[in-house]
Point group: C2
């Protein structure tokens, strides 16, 4: 009987925002500034942020994620007719450095560290953003690398961005598990050649991109269940 042997996983690269770090507090803070409109502002802000990464990538007009995120906030507030003062903007942008870690992500990172699996973050965030959020969550030393697309000047899903993982770990993309809560990100990484896991926190249908993540689950607990049997290379 033919069964596909589990691929050995030598390292894990995580998306940051929404995957390890809970962005929910942004909508809460936005709602304190704009009562009753916070969820709407946070949702449009996120859409515009991602739009701008893609437009700038396609047009070769890279700017760091912090700049793009700030631009997206300005546009979103204007589109919703919200008067965004400098104090609001600064507070909302600062919140990006103070997002908390999902409980399931904290548990999984603890387990994986004890298993001595090399871990990295591979994010659109620029280095100051990634360093701040990791430090503010006392995760220093957890990740072997904080891989920012800033070093290649183009955002995910560009191949140059995903190439950072194999380069940092010194192994093939297929030997790295790439974990993201964004289905498009898991699909982009799968196109690139990673073994991928989509944490479908929001219970969404899969993107219709003609590619499927190797694993899917609702939390990081299911990442652990997926990765543990794959950590040892199967017998030949």
């Amino acid at each position: 009987m033919n069964t596909t042997p589990a691929l050995p996983i030598k390292a894990i690269a995580f998306d940051a925002y929404g995957t390890i770090f809970d962005v929910h507090s942004i909508a809460k803070l936005a709602d304190r500034h704009f009562p009753g409109r916070g969820a709407e502002l946070a949702a449009l802000w996120r859409v515009k942020q991602i739009d701008y990464t893609r437009l700038r990538s396609m047009s070769g007009r890279y700017e760091p994620f912090s700049k793009i995120t700030s631009d997206a906030l300005v546009h979103s507030a204007r589109a919703l007719g919200l008067a965004l003062g400098d104090d609001h903007a600064v507070a909302l942008m600062r919140q990006y450095d103070h997002l908390g870690v999902f409980d399931d992500a904290a548990r999984a990172l603890h387990v994986l560290r004890n298993l001595h699996v090399p871990l990295a973050i591979l994010s659109n965030g620029d280095p100051p953003m990634l360093e701040a959020i990791v430090s503010n969550n006392r995760l220093d030393g957890v990740f072997a690398s904080l891989l920012s697309v800033d070093s290649v000047g183009i955002f995910k899903t560009a191949p140059e961005a995903y190439a950072l993982g194999p380069k940092a770990f010194g192994c093939a993309a297929a030997e790295i598990l790439f974990v993201s809560s964004n289905c498009w990100d898991a699909c982009g990484a799968a196109w690139y050649g990673y073994t991928t896991f989509w944490i479908n926190r929001a219970g969404l249908p899969i993107e219709e991109l003609g590619v499927v993540p190797a694993g899917t689950g609702r939390t990081m607990d299911e990442v652990l269940a997926f990765v543990e049997p794959r950590l040892i290379a199967p017998a030949a």
Copy 2:
């Protein structure tokens, strides 16, 4: 006194969907299939359609716009919990070939043809889609070229897509007026080097991309007002 002379415009390239052709009937048809949910489905469908053009472009995974549009419809219906039968899908996709022309666009095309300005469509749509919609609206002969990104295998805002205009017209991008109802499209074309006009049909704020269209207005009438004084090269 220094004044910037108006650039001479030698040709005009138009975006298709939402710019010349009115996509509103898609939401109406969707609402016949899914009463009370049509606007929501049409809006998400559009978002996903554009998302997929960008993801596939960034990852080098081009598929024709008709395929992407169909994929986006499947995902959107699923995300909204709508049971999309084959008959619904076929009818909604067919509607793309039967969109009407905005009244202001019809007037402007008539005037511009009488002025003997070379006109083109420069669209993400694939050639069969563009040929069908032009033919169904009896616009055969109006456009010197139907420029589809399909010939370069990457969607707007990639430079390869915008390069089709200067190549077809045999003049510099700055001598071509690129007209779109999508601000991101006008911005992408401006980055490329076109003289650009954003028809802001929906009254949205400008995208915060660090670039500004040369002209902005609510309808194609304002495109005419913008272009007519620029059709003759200014005295040296």
